[in-house]
């Protein structure tokens, strides 16, 4: 997998720029689009069920780097799984989202993980397991411990969120970015044989439209 990286003109510009593709996967109605919408617009509302895929772009000016973040939001229904692989192609990160008030959705997230494991090597992709809808605490079917334990055994990042009440949404996206940057650093310190493609970032065409 090609890490799309722009090192900038390293002499004049100390901060490197990275472009990352993140894909949101999970059952239908677990809140994938709502997480993206909360993160991008800091708002919550009823969204159309995603058909195919929709995109969000975010540019983050961090201390250590400029990160262009492309978020690919996918349709959750099982029937659409056959086309979903098109969307996570070349992804650098994935959020596997489930609904804490619906146990089945965790099983589905596990299946997604198997799917990703078939297509990516562990160091090729950062995966976070996200238990969404903590606002539905009264209807909880999956304990925090259960989610956390599963994530730990599989080496995934883990966080519980609520897109509705804006709980830890920004945090989970930031945790993924930090992990991606940590891996960048690690790789820089021990250069691998894998070639890095240097790609010029397009003149900041920042799209924050959602469908």
């Amino acid at each position: 997998m090609a890490w799309v990286v722009t090192q900038g003109t390293s002499l004049e510009e100390p901060r490197p720029s990275y472009m990352y593709k993140m894909v949101l996967l999970g059952s239908m109605s677990v809140g994938k689009s709502s997480l993206a919408y909360r993160y991008m617009r800091n708002d919550f509302r009823e969204l159309l069920p995603t058909v195919g895929c929709s995109f969000f772009m975010q540019t983050l000016q961090l201390d250590e780097a400029t990160v262009k973040f492309e978020i690919w939001d996918t349709a959750g229904q099982e029937k659409y799984q056959s086309v979903c692989h098109l969307y996570y192609r070349d992804a650098h990160a994935a959020l596997l989202v489930y609904d804490i008030a619906n146990k089945q959705t965790l099983s589905r997230a596990k299946l997604w993980l198997e799917e990703l494991e078939k297509r990516f090597l562990p160091d090729e992709i950062v995966i976070a397991l996200v238990g969404n809808k903590t606002d539905l605490a009264a209807e909880r079917e999956v304990t925090s411990e259960e989610g956390e334990e599963f994530a730990r055994t599989k080496g995934l990042l883990f966080m519980e969120t609520s897109a509705k009440s804006n709980y830890q949404v920004n945090d989970v996206f930031m945790a993924v970015v930090q992990e991606l940057l940590r891996r960048e650093k690690e790789k820089a310190s021990k250069p691998s044989s894998r070639g890095r493609s240097t790609v010029e970032l397009r003149a900041s065409r920042v799209v924050t439209r959602c469908c």
Binding site: M28, S29, R45, E46, L48, P49, F55, D90, R209, C211
Partner: protein, 380 residues
């Protein structure tokens, strides 16, 4: 590679939407439509004015037979109303416990319905009557088609229909007819989607093999980026008002079969330059196409697609696969849009020449009329 020359793309103009007077003038005293082909042709060229939609869509979708009288339609509606409420009662009387054990019903209950077209006034706000109807119709559809179950995207197809009908029963039966056309898209293996993508690639190759080769070089030859267009007939690509126009034009089944695929070709051809100039790769193509949503001019794209249809129908060396997809020459395959409701007469009356003379602003119709002669045997 041998390249078929399609010639220059003809200029096409569109007309005003069909007015209430035009519609009324084409009806006899018993409410029978006099010249079905003529009226379809008018609708194809200009769509319908909004007040007419509630009535005309019932014909276009196949709920009302074209040759029926007003009285026959009233009887049909009465019968269909009973039938609808019988099916509705079936799910209404399912207990909570029963529902827990029925995954199909549970799926239908999921929140999706509440997420349909919420920015449209008709479906705005909590506990909106429009939303409740949308939900009830989809639940009843489950009783009508147990095997299909609920698929994301179905409510997209229903919402404009319900918006126009403003009536639960009529909307349901029109939706049933529409789903008869769209059913395959939603089936387990998505066979309808696969078939359409293959057909689209045949058409696009004929139109622009260079672009096709480019897409192939970017691993995009399967045209998956058109998935959403095809699945829900462009519902997410245009504004709600534009979709009403686009759909009624498509439902005329003019000027050929699978006109929606030519609409895809028209949009793709409009984007080709940018895609190739900027050398977009797999991800960028997907993204670019996705972001066209709400940016396409519906009248422009209808003109372009019609022009492409004329190019293809005038082509003397049209590949067999393409003529079969478009249903021209004496092809036997035609889209199946009728509901099977006492329509034997309607089918006959539709089989006449598709191109009656239609008054248009300029004389650009010659090509189409020529083409019509070659396809006048196509059953509609």
């Amino acid at each position: 590679v041998f390249q078929i020359d399609l010639g220059k793309q003809p200029e096409v103009s569109r007309r005003e939407p069909v007015s209430a007077e035009e519609w009324a003038k084409n009806m006899d005293s018993e409410g029978r439509i006099l010249d079905v082909d003529y009226i379809k042709r008018l609708i194809f060229k200009g769509g319908l004015c909004h007040t007419l939609r509630k009535e005309a869509w019932k014909f276009l979708l196949g709920y009302f037979p074209w040759n029926s009288t007003k009285e026959e339609r009233a009887n049909l509606q009465k019968r269909k109303t009973d039938e609808y409420f019988r099916m509705k009662l079936q799910w209404k009387s399912v207990s909570e416990e029963q529902e827990k054990r029925n995954s199909r019903l549970r799926d239908y209950r999921k929140k999706d319905v509440n997420r349909t077209d919420r920015t449209n006034k008709f479906y705005e706000g909590e506990d909106n009557p429009g939303l409740i109807l949308l939900h009830d119709i989809l639940m009843t559809y489950c009783m009508n088609d147990f095997d299909l179950g609920y698929v994301q995207g179905m409510s997209d197809l229903l919402s404009p229909v319900l918006y126009v009908m403003e009536n639960e029963v009529d909307a349901f039966w029109c939706f049933v007819s529409y789903m008869d056309q769209m059913h395959q898209n939603f089936e387990e293996q998505m066979q309808g989607m696969k078939t359409q993508l293959i057909q689209l690639s045949h058409l696009l190759r004929l139109l622009d093999s260079g672009f096709c080769s480019y897409l192939e070089s970017q691993d995009s030859g399967y045209l998956y980026f058109c998935f959403r267009w095809l699945l829900i007939r462009f519902k997410r690509e245009f504004s709600f008002q534009d979709i009403l126009r686009l759909w009624e034009v498509m439902w005329t089944e003019l000027p050929c079969q699978n006109f929606h695929l030519l609409l895809c070709c028209a949009i793709l051809e409009s984007e080709k330059q940018q895609i190739m100039d900027k050398h977009y790769g797999f991800n960028e193509i997907l993204k670019h196409i996705n972001e066209l949503s709400m940016k396409i001019d519906v009248e422009y794209i209808l003109c372009k697609a019609e022009a492409i249809s004329m190019q293809m129908m005038n082509c003397k060396e049209l590949p067999q696969t393409v003529s079969e997809i478009l249903g021209i020459e004496n092809s036997s395959a035609t889209p199946d849009s009728d509901t099977g409701e006492d329509e034997s007469g309607a089918e006959l009356s539709c089989a006449a020449s598709l191109y009656q003379s239609v008054p248009t602003a300029n004389g650009t119709r010659d090509g189409a009329q020529q083409a019509a002669e070659t396809q006048s045997l196509t059953p509609a």
